[in-house]
């Protein structure tokens, strides 16, 4: 543990004037951060916001065993049951991918939710998983795709035309695959950001430092997992679903933060992957919203724009509606800006517009 934990902002619950009911996403953050002291008179608003942010499963486990009104308890119990089945399905997709690629001797590195579940991390508790995200060496990606297609996965975009070309040329993953019997998607990546994005993570280093958890499957090292979560939070999309991604970061940091030497390695890896600034911002936001203990040296000083990020992450009311449309739009533009060099962005938007 290093000196100077960042906590210059009081937790959100102690800032501003406490209204009788806090707006949907704020309330959700309160409940996740401090379930022991959480109280509300608007359970409907809390549940709706949690569904909208895909955090109902996480919330259900945070509030398990706490005194909760009967109907809310029943809804949360249903959410835990659903989360258990989602976990089973996510792990099964990983297992079927492993079986499909068994002969290749390519280690499949599980990413995001599937990795959390496979490694039994705290971040997995109640977490929903949509697609199976895999990282494999770029040189082997075609073999992996072929093996998956052999085992029943199919390409869902037409294998000709602009979209496929766009993926293969500019993206960090193959066009998505879907399994014909199980209807589950698989995204096979060769790095964690599109090659067009300005930061260029060191994919070889990610793979070299990965940790085998089973024969044929691995996960990223703890610091790389944080770096990936931060990259995913900011660079992938317009911060939609960002609250769930930030909750992942809080859970991961609380678990990894106690590992000896973790913070030094995190700083080194963030620099190696050219993601020092996003990692710092992720740490600051996690501390701001979830009171996560973070290393102040890596997090850096609070910036005025942190407040905009916070506002964007919390732009959801207690009817589940997205709020602050202008701020959302600004973040949408920003996401495209980050993802592509300006000329390419223009070409992309032009092609989309002409069709």
């Amino acid at each position: 543990m290093k000196e100077g934990w960042l906590n210059r902002d009081a937790p959100p619950s102690q800032r501003g004037k406490p209204g009788p009911v806090r707006a949907g996403a704020r309330q959700l953050v309160d409940a996740l951060r401090d379930p022991e002291n959480f109280q509300t008179s608007d359970w409907s608003g809390l549940i709706t916001a949690a569904r909208a942010e895909q955090l109902l499963g996480s919330l259900a486990f945070r509030l398990e065993g706490r005194p909760v009104p009967e109907r809310a308890a029943s809804i949360l119990a249903g959410a835990r049951r659903e989360a258990a089945q989602q976990r089973t399905q996510a792990l099964w997709e990983a297992e079927m991918a492993r079986r499909a690629c068994e002969g290749l001797s390519v280690p499949l590195i599980l990413l995001k939710g599937t990795a959390f579940h496979a490694a039994g991390l705290d971040a997995a508790v109640g977490r929903s998983v949509g697609d199976l995200d895999l990282l494999v060496p770029r040189a082997r990606i075609e073999e992996v795709e072929a093996a998956l297609i052999d085992a029943g996965w199919e390409r869902i975009k037409p294998a000709d035309g602009y979209d496929d070309l766009y993926y293969r040329r500019w993206m960090h993953e193959l066009p998505p695959l879907v399994h014909r019997d199980r209807d589950r998607m698989a995204d096979v990546h060769h790095t964690i950001l599109p090659p067009t994005a300005r930061p260029t993570p060191d994919a070889a280093a990610l793979i070299a430092d990965s940790i085998a958890i089973d024969s044929g499957v691995a996960i990223l090292s703890s610091p790389d997992m944080i770096v990936h979560a931060a990259a995913h939070l900011f660079a992938d999309g317009d911060l939609a679903g960002g609250l769930r991604n930030l909750w992942d970061i809080d859970r991961l940091l609380r678990q990894f933060g106690a590992e000896p030497g973790f913070w030094q390695v995190l700083a080194t890896r963030a620099r190696l992957h050219q993601l020092t600034a996003p990692v710092a911002l992720a740490l600051r936001l996690s501390a701001r919203l979830f009171a996560t203990p973070v290393d102040a040296g890596i997090a850096g000083r609070a910036r005025p724009s942190d407040r905009l990020f916070e506002a964007r992450l919390l732009a959801r009311d207690n009817w589940g509606r997205p709020t602050r449309p202008l701020l959302r739009f600004a973040f949408y533009l920003r996401s495209h800006w980050l993802r592509m060099p300006p000329l390419m962005l223009a070409r992309h938007l032009l092609v989309k517009a002409r069709r």
Partner: protein, 134 residues
């Protein structure tokens, strides 16, 4: 096993008799049926849905006779539909009739496009719900 008395059946459960005939089935037969999520049937019956032809993933493309999407202006291919098909119109198309507002010479291509929809593509849940007996 009919005609076997209870006591004997009980024993046979543990030590299968050589007389029990096991049909291994033809190589092409199927002995495993997996239950798939059945969202579509109910969703279709509770919701009004529509299918864009083609979907946003291929916006602007023409539709070839076999239902695949091809570059705009491809000879013998059909222009995109100006508006999405309503569920009932899509159903009529799939049954071989031509709903109002659809160019009869393009109807077959559009029907084939719908048949080729896959999970994850716009209109798929609607198409899946139409597949269910109503």
């Amino acid at each position: 096993m009919s005609g076997t008395d209870n006591e004997k059946a009980g024993i046979e459960a543990f030590v299968p008799s050589r007389r029990t005939v096991l049909v291994l089935g033809a190589a092409a037969a199927s002995t495993v049926v997996t239950i798939r999520p059945a969202l579509a049937q109910t969703a279709g019956s509770v919701l009004n849905c529509e299918i864009p032809v083609p979907g946003p993933h291929a916006a602007g493309s023409y539709i070839a006779q076999d239902g695949s999407t091809v570059a705009a202006m491809t000879p013998n291919a059909h222009p995109p539909m100006m508006r999405p098909l309503r569920g009932q119109e899509a159903k009529a198309l799939l049954q071989g009739s031509v709903p109002p507002g659809v160019n009869p010479s393009s109807a077959q291509a559009y029907a084939n496009y719908i048949r080729r929809l896959q999970s994850g593509m716009s209109g798929f849940t609607c198409y899946a719900s139409l597949q269910m007996p109503r």
